[in-house]
Symmetry: C2
Subunit: 547 residues, 2 copies
Amino acid sequence: MIALGQSNPRQIGIAFGPDRWPADLAAGEHAMNGAEALIETLVANGVEVCFNNPGTSEMHLVGAIDKVPGMRPILGLFEGAVTGAADGYGRMAGKPACTLLHLGPGLGNGLANLHNAKKAGTPIVNIVGEHATYHRKYDAPLSSDIASLARPMSHWVQTVEHAADGPRLASLAVAEALGTPGRIATLILPADSAWNELGRRDAPPRARPAAAPQVPGARIDAAAKALREAKSAAIVLGNDAMREGPLLAAARIAAATGARLYAETFSKRTERGAGRVAVKTIPYFAEMALDELKGVDLLLLAGARIPIAFFAYPGKASVLVPEGARTQDLARPDEDVPDALEALAEAVGAPRSVNTLQEAKRPGLGEGRLNAHEIGRTLGELLPENAIVADEGCTCGLWASVHTAGAPPHDWLQLTGGSIGLGIPLATGAAVACPDRKVVCIQGDGGAMYTIQALWTQAREGLDVVTIVFANRSYAILNIEFDRVGAGKAGEKAQSMLEIGNPEINFAELARAMGVNAMRCTTVEAFNKALADCMATKGPHLIEAVL
Amino acid sequence: MIALGQSNPRQIGIAFGPDRWPADLAAGEHAMNGAEALIETLVANGVEVCFNNPGTSEMHLVGAIDKVPGMRPILGLFEGAVTGAADGYGRMAGKPACTLLHLGPGLGNGLANLHNAKKAGTPIVNIVGEHATYHRKYDAPLSSDIASLARPMSHWVQTVEHAADGPRLASLAVAEALGTPGRIATLILPADSAWNELGRRDAPPRARPAAAPQVPGARIDAAAKALREAKSAAIVLGNDAMREGPLLAAARIAAATGARLYAETFSKRTERGAGRVAVKTIPYFAEMALDELKGVDLLLLAGARIPIAFFAYPGKASVLVPEGARTQDLARPDEDVPDALEALAEAVGAPRSVNTLQEAKRPGLGEGRLNAHEIGRTLGELLPENAIVADEGCTCGLWASVHTAGAPPHDWLQLTGGSIGLGIPLATGAAVACPDRKVVCIQGDGGAMYTIQALWTQAREGLDVVTIVFANRSYAILNIEFDRVGAGKAGEKAQSMLEIGNPEINFAELARAMGVNAMRCTTVEAFNKALADCMATKGPHLIEAVL
């Protein structure tokens, strides 16, 4: 699984040639119901983990997961934990997990983290149970328009109207999910399409994901020309460009042309650390972003979109392109970005290597008062090689990123869709995908409470995750934003909507109540010891850092 | 608030006549932004509680709640807690609270409990923040199709395209919410429609909810005739028919005609207990429902819909009307059901009073082994007069209902939409609406974990709620349903998706971690003492009953 995770997602389709079909799947003669055929098709196409929270309408799917070999069910106590885990899994495995969700409301609970996954470009296949086709018309208590709910957070939505259609649609869903850079495919499965027997039994159809479209040579040449002519060029890197190989190509281009490199504000998966290419990030706040990019006359987009403000603010720009700069596409996120960067490096006559790689350095353990800065230092000092960091640190996360820059090579996963409540599930799914790697979740306390239930799944599955909760007792970002949008001075009532310290939440106790070993730290010394212990011990842990 | 809650929701519109406008709202000359005008309109129309979980795009709304007098903000740490509380509030107050939700993902998190509220017919006004109108086109990280998400769980969805439209649309939203029997109105508010100043300042427009349509006399006469001609009639009571007055009318009709009375399987709000009319409930399982109704030749529907199976099962009926029976509408849920029952009582010459009212009786405290039956007895023994019970007990809740039948008069709120995770928020909202009444939440452990965050809101607001968690460590209903749908024998993997006991969740510790006083009970004696203590002490408590 890890090997797959390290490979280019686009190449995965190739591994699923017909020679890979287990012969026994094709040869069997006995009857099979729609749910079994669907699960068999998913397994045959490399989908081997099902994050789930089922209900009555999905019982045949539960039965099918039981019977069909090769699908690992992982239960979540809430659907946001399920879909967020599928996001973490997909980002690290480079292929989809499936989710199993209970009708419209179950999907509804999972939508926020599907939103984040969609913005990331993560491959996910959702299976959403539905009432039997003939039962839909009665408007039973759990009836709702599932497709309407699914569409905004999916690239592809289909309904299995007949059991026999399940395998074909499941293979299409996998192919869709494996599109570039990764997509959300949602398959609605009425209960009778799950329980009805298939008349015949064929080999599970093969998913045929479309290869990422190659960027035309003319666009490469135009980019090379633009870089040559620009006085001050910046290359903005997005999506797959943030992996080690493409980053190196980008650094070579920078070395040849003098262009500066920037990452989008939030990246799906960044391969970073000592010996890799470090790039600056476009700041979150619009005015800081414009300030950072000031004087740039060309923004060349490599898998990134034109920089846009996260939110609109009265009288401030939405588009973060500095005055006098023009934007130009090298490769769109749904094109072969790594290939385009290699081609551009060639076209600008880039050197084979660069001397700008991140040097190995550790910041030393945190000292003094316990705060986000010192926590970041300790993390930078202790982060093991090949770790995965799931970052929903929000206002507290920045220092962790700064101080781990020179740590041994690791992956960094961010909140791409802005909907908080992803961190703990994201770490959960990453740990499932990569059982041999230490996962660190840096998590704001506000966001932690949306999907705190994912800790239970970590305990149940014995996942190697350390969650660091930054307990500042506040939606701290909103305290900043309240001023920034010009909403005036926050009075008592407004304050009550921005702070979460009354009553104080004991995150260590929450974690222990769900079977996760936990510590509450109020000093740097205690935190340093706790994190060192967690790094030395496999299994789920939580550290509540009281700020 | 309580007086309003006890009154007929349809009459509320009358209380909002122009004479009620505070003069200072109409007379002010200084400028006001869209958010302030919107909140002012809601307050002027009787919306005085805002359950909220805001984000950056709603900061001007937060500011407006701060500035405009009369709106009480109640923060939830997760949107399912917010919308479920709005449901509980709306059922008890008989008028809408508003919710404040953060863009599409925030709405997504709230959808499951909006689904339940929609099926209940609860009045709710959702305010969903959106990017500024000019920012929508950029597909920023938090962009999504909010209307598509809102429609399945709303009766009415509108967007405030200009700040000046806010008051009018807010008044329409309130009017819609106050329709019969209660509706979900969702108003999407782009950030610039919140922050832009209104050019002029008018009196907030008045919500004019439509009166519930009266049932035509011909239908009353037809119902009377049908009851006279039927050999074995049953009257199925839904929605507002489950309140004390209409139930008495139904009992009088039954006394005059020999018809049996049934409640729908799940009711929004039942006024029950000693001295009130007790009615049987149509069983949840389809075959039991058909068995119960066997021999009935007329199903007269009073605010109820034709009985439908909760789920489809292979080879079993979806429509639970026994063979040879016909159905006939007395009043649809969106008509004036109480009035129709009174008129029918008149038409069949019903007696003024009946001798079938529920007698006062207490079952005695539970004894022996701690189980759902004994918990039900203890609750029946201790439930105080005028209590409100929020029931998401699922497989464990039935005995509580049985043993409280003769307790002093109380309200019973059920899970109408089948999406578990409502109980704790529902109790939270009911307690806000009725601060002088004891609220008891009976809650299965599986369902508790979807919206456990609502306990924090109970602690923060000091609400008088006792939550009893039935900790059977299982999605027990699914263990039953797995068999019933014919999914075969549950093997190890299937079992792992139906049980939640590995690891065991310590609900008492979870509650304490969020500031709620909690006890974990493993014996009847301990439970009896704990519940007695909770009944004697105001404020939030949780009892984990380990089964």
